[in-house]
Amino acid sequence: MSGPFSSVSVALAGSGGAGVMTAGNMLLEAVAVAGYYGLMTRSSGPQIRGGEAVAMVRAATFPTDGPDDAFHVLAAIDWQNVARFADEIPIGPGGLLVGDPAQGEPPEHFARSGARLVPVPFKAIAKAIRGAWPNMVALGLLGGLMGIGREALEAAVTKATRKGGEALEANLAAVRAGLAEAAKLDVSFPLAAPPARSARWLVTGNEAAGFGALAGGVRFVAAYPITPATELLEWMSPALAKVGGALVQAEDELASINMALGASYGGVPALTATSGPGLALMTEAIGLGVAAEIPIVVVDVMRTGPSTGIATKTEQADLNIALHGLHGDAPHVVVAPNSLADCCAATQWAVELAETLQVPAIVLSDQYLGQARGVVERPECRESGPMRLVAPANGAGYRRYAVTPSGVSPMAIPGTPGVTYTADGLEHNERGTPSSLAADHLAQLEKRARKLAGFDCGERWASVEGEGDLAVVTFGSPTAAVREALTRAAADGVRARLVSIRLLSPAQPARLAQALEGVRRVLVVEQNHSGQFLRHLRSTYELPGEVESLRRPGPLPFRPGEIHRRLIEWARA
Amino acid sequence: MTNSGRKANKPRAQARRRRPASKACEEFMARAYAMERDAAERYTEFADQMEVHNNLEVAKLFRQLAEIEGLHAKQILEEMGWPQMPPPVYALQWETPEPPETAPVTELHYRMQPWHALALALRNEERAEKFLAGVARSPKNPPEVRKLAAEMAEEEREHQRLIREWMQRVPPPDPDWSRDPDPPFLGD
């Protein structure tokens, strides 16, 4: 392959304290400082410490948070158990393997990939510099291969090295040594010139979601740790302390969801975050939020299921439970961010919807978006302001659950005189008194359904892009790969549309019909085994023409190439 | 209101058209007021419970009793020239768990019959009399208070007589008055 490249993907593997994550983060920082977009994902063995790990960094001249088809470079401090990551690091002829000859041969899978193997003695080079570590040498090497300049690398290292002084000097020297090694090689993967500067963030999806929640007005968080949602909660703890709010650690998910409900009942927008197993526990209380009309946001950072599944890996298999996991007829909001940056906007929107419609909103993020760290355009930080319809004091004959045309009835906030009421999960009449009458049940069901069905969600319901009579419909993290695939397909003369649905519930049949007007073929892309999204689309929408499913369970992400190939095949069939 | 009710009102109205002046008297009358007021509220709650449980005859009877006690309480306000209840009478402590003229909630049964309700009222009046007689007897109390208490104890005895008369006029309870062939219902 020759350069310059609009996108370069590298991986750095190692084990037993090699520090590949640290180096990977610094490389991403350098990518950002050098003016590129990019992202880093990671994978590791199950050990708590000392396990094998790989940091995967993609740099690009265009915004992306999806993976490329293959890696250009796989460098390894050592090859211990790196075979575990074989599926996650596709590399072939044209790619480069860099290994320390003192650490043995690469695993057979990589050795037979067709990629070229080049020896670089990371350990020896580091040893020659007092206090230097092999991972810093590797950092310099990778940066050099990508064309990331010395200044950017050194800026990243300086920012990340807290200790300063000797340790910093050693790291910088090691990086320079790595750069020198890269210069010696007769192969490189230089990035094309960076795009025009713009205001950008380096952030993870979980952090972005946390910030989006605060921008939406959340000031109470109940937290029960679970992989891969814990970082969202951990980010929010000091953030809430700074802006004026509270985070409480709960004893379990049953407590965290109920705490959030209690806080919201008290008038404070509230949130909790979890993953599939926790969401399963929370369903009863989410139903209480629907019945008693209490706003609340639950972020589900989806992981591989079912049951305990694979905690550290991604999947999109919680759609069923998010849409249908509540007993009874319990309409509620489900929002799916479709990029890393969108974790901010989508979560903020979920708060707005929950508060406006007085209903629980589930945000379907996933481990890939949540834990990936990427360079994104700075999201808009405009705060939502209060959006809850609140009952004024001393309203005579106040009825909390009054049947209104919109379905939304004013909510009395504790402390307000003259309009006290009891929020109830029991079915109730307009006043809120428990009722077993058929007419009351019907009236309240219709109120709660009408709230959502009649709401004009505007343009944010989906990302709709492109033209053509072929469409790719998806949600969440595969969106980036689909976008790239469509760009490539367009270059091949195949035009296709992208519809990435962000508002999964309430469904928007009219809007989807409009987005798919003129479409004869629909490819449904999702990351789960049973086709949950396909089934949802079929049961909720009229899909035009032929429908095909491109699905795979987690944890391996969709790559643009496979979607591109499928589109071309189909277009030409 | 029934005949019995009206009669129960008469004696006190005749006995006292004066304004006792001493602080001890005021305290005592506040306590007497609290006793009547609490009795009235409790009878009202009992009437509500009977209504919810479809025992309308007994509900009506309890409402009558509530009205009577309410009038007793009102009379005390009038005699004392108090425009409204002296606060906070509900915080007064008694030697018994509740004020003497108030029936414990445990004495209710959803299938109780008018006779039972009147027997309950009778016990109330007996406890009230006992309390007032105690005040009247005790040398710790100033003479004017003891005199008032003695008069009021006499009134309670009169109430008891009226209630016994009333009980003669209602049917005695059926032997299987509490029987309910259906098992308990409901669940949340």
């Binding site: 109940a222 409480v248 407590a255 109920n258 209690g262 006290t420 009891t422 | 445990t106």
Partner: protein, 276 residues
């Protein structure tokens, strides 16, 4: 349900117009009287008070008051009340429920609420049975009590909530009896006044499923010793307590839960760590 305006508030001001569906003779009526009396004694206003409950006969209580109420799901009243109080420290928050709701499905939350020591008052109406589902043993039921679900008795030792509360860190522990509503009112008022997590267990006989509990009125007695603030001494007393000692049994000195940070920084402060 709307409270009368600002005339002197009496217990009646805290009672709503909704008539309880409890069986006549139920001890919970007295607890309702105790709560409304306590709130009046404390000089509170209905809109300043929130009563949070779970599921069961006792949990119906919020709607019978003119306070703000939250009738949630089975066993989860304590976390809901915790979230509410932390978000709204200005409110007086009471939690109410029965022994099934509180000690069985709610048991875990009970432990952690005592540990967390948020300023709440938890009133449990204990009748040693699951009333609402028609008469099954509860955690506080005696091992030998026979029922359809467990003929001959469960044979399982009953739960001792006061001991557990003390061991878990509750800051105020008291026991009342529904036969003494004024006594209950005083206990509840004191519990509300005491900072931190205050636990008031009220023996409240079930007239329908436990008619044998009529005998309780002859078994209860005022506790023979004054309340202590020494957990070790309280532990010895509570471990030998027969379940019928009434009054305040423990008044601790733990500072109540205080969440971190009352910052007022603008959101823009937070994004600095992300900016490239």
């Amino acid at each position: 349900m709307n409270a009368p305006d600002t005339a002197a508030l009496t217990p009646q001001s805290f009672k709503s117009d909704i008539k309880p569906v409890w069986c006549p003779g139920c001890g919970d009526f007295s607890v309702l009287a105790g709560i409304t009396r306590a709130l009046a004694m404390l000089g509170l206003r209905p809109e300043q008070v929130a009563i949070v409950s779970g599921i069961g006969c006792s949990s119906r209580i919020p709607a019978y008051t003119t306070c703000y109420g939250f009738h949630g799901v089975h066993g989860r009243a304590l976390p809901a009340a915790t979230g509410l109080k932390i978000a709204r420290p200005d409110l007086t928050v009471l939690v109410a429920g029965g022994d099934g709701d509180g000690y069985s499905i709610g048991g875990n939350h009970f432990l952690h609420a005592c540990r967390r020591n948020v300023d709440l008052t938890y009133v449990v109406m204990d009748n040693h049975v699951y009333g609402m589902t028609k008469g099954q043993p509860s955690p506080t039921t005696e091992p030998g009590w026979s029922s359809k679900l467990a003929p001959g008795g469960t044979g399982v030792r009953e739960f001792h909530p006061l001991v557990i509360a003390l061991a878990s860190g509750a800051n105020f522990i008291a026991r009342g009896f529904s036969g003494d509503p004024n006594g209950c009112a005083r206990l509840i008022a004191e519990a509300v006044r005491h900072p931190g997590f205050s636990f008031v267990e009220i023996l409240s006989p079930c007239v329908t499923f436990r008619p044998d509990q009529r005998a309780w009125k002859d078994l209860v007695r005022p506790a023979p010793v004054a309340p202590t603030d020494d957990p070790a001494r309280a532990a010895r007393r509570l471990m030998t307590d027969d379940g019928f000692n009434l009054g305040v049994l423990y008044k601790g000195n733990r500072p109540p839960y205080a969440p971190a940070g009352a910052g007022r920084a603008p959101l823009a402060e937070l994004v600095k760590e992300f900016e490239v």
